[in-house]
Symmetry: none
Subunit: 139 residues, 4 copies
């Protein structure tokens, strides 16, 4: 059994992220996945980039598969650093820039959110709106 | 030109399909895609099979890529018939059993819906609830 | 968090399956996976077929992804039947012949076992030795 | 001729690596492969990252496929150096950071070990425990 996030909660997180994406006027693709990185729900906002369909899904996958926020992976993966080459491992699913975040309950990762569609700072901003909503719901 | 369906409409179709899935007590994965077969929205209902994540997405893809309902492909793909072997073409994305349907406007395919999670008859039943909702919205 | 099977238990199941494989004098590849079909442990017995590395892994994946024993999928997937074409969906990971089994606890699938290396009847025999061991450990 | 390592030896190397992983309190995925890079045995320790399943397997593959320790590949693969781009060749299986090692007998590579799950320095530390065990067994 996978302890996961109910679909209803997943779509609430996506709604919160979509609201933020509308505020900053940048359509995004938003994915919520379970703790094994498999999809629970994914929405592509009208006008969001096609590439973001895979990128948001893979950000959610990466946050589960390496149990980290994806922006934490960038520096170590640069040429000359210890994980240089990380982004081409694991069948091309590892994303090493920001926008993927774990969702935790009692210190355990029970799901993840991945957002793609704008500058990385915008992706992170929108994903964090989903993470914030998760924390409100968890209180 | 790629015709598409707004995300808001896509989630309405998914809601209608989910309602039907609950009525028949069979959790499903439901995907709505655009006329190029690319994802607009996908929901995995709580308890739906993992394999259905890919299969529902690929049913939606197939309905767009071959401009047909997927159950129309089964017979022609059988040994001895004209399209025998179809299901292994196109990078493994072609699904030849039921549950994928085009969504039309004025005789043009503008999107598709794909459902997976039960017996094929159930997948079709649930997908058709989404198609019915599309037709209501189009009137 | 994935409620899964500890590695120690997984290797006990593999040991039981290996014992049976030795009894019938047929080297096998044996995989134990978690409830999302991801690997916990895999052993290739000396002399087992190379193809069985992927096949045993995919039998374990299939048992998780469709929540079934893989031999249950054969009939429905034959030409003319409802799931004809199933075996080429889901990125080629679906195996529709015997040797993959769910491992249950309190009615929930918490893992799977997949065996490949001989005739299907032998694969099933060896996998069932692993399932039997699971049931003994669960008592 | 494909040289290989008996399954029994492979699991001994994995045991030695697991012992070291427990000492440094970092769960790892450990793979032993034959001289063609194909799996003999793989264990995912409880709590090890999902991504490490593929990465450890591919470190073992790379050590066989290029007949080298994977950490030897990093520098040459950096921009401006002779093998820049190496990591995206060979269907995404090449890993260019540390944790994959050849296992030699009489100067011939007869197998490999790949470890993933922590910082690269930890992966190497744990993999080297497996290599050390190999050398003890070979004496």
């Amino acid at each position: 059994m996978v302890e996961s996030i109910p679909l209803e909660t997943a779509t609430e997180l996506i709604d919160a992220a979509e609201d933020r994406a509308e505020e900053i006027d940048n359509p995004m693709v938003i994915t919520v996945a379970n703790s094994e990185g498999n999809l629970i729900a994914q929405h592509r906002m009208d006008g969001a980039w096609l590439a973001s369909v895979n990128i948001s899904r893979n950000k959610a996958y990466t946050a589960a598969a390496l149990e980290t926020s994806t922006h934490e992976l960038a520096e170590a993966s640069e040429p000359g650093n210890s994980l240089y080459g990380l982004q081409t491992t694991d069948e091309g699913r590892i994303v090493i820039f920001g926008g993927g975040y774990p969702l935790e309950r009692d210190g355990e990762i029970v799901g993840t959110i991945g957002v793609s569609g704008g500058a990385v700072s915008q992706d992170r901003d929108v994903a964090e709106a989903g993470v914030d909503r998760w924390q409100e719901l968890s209180e």
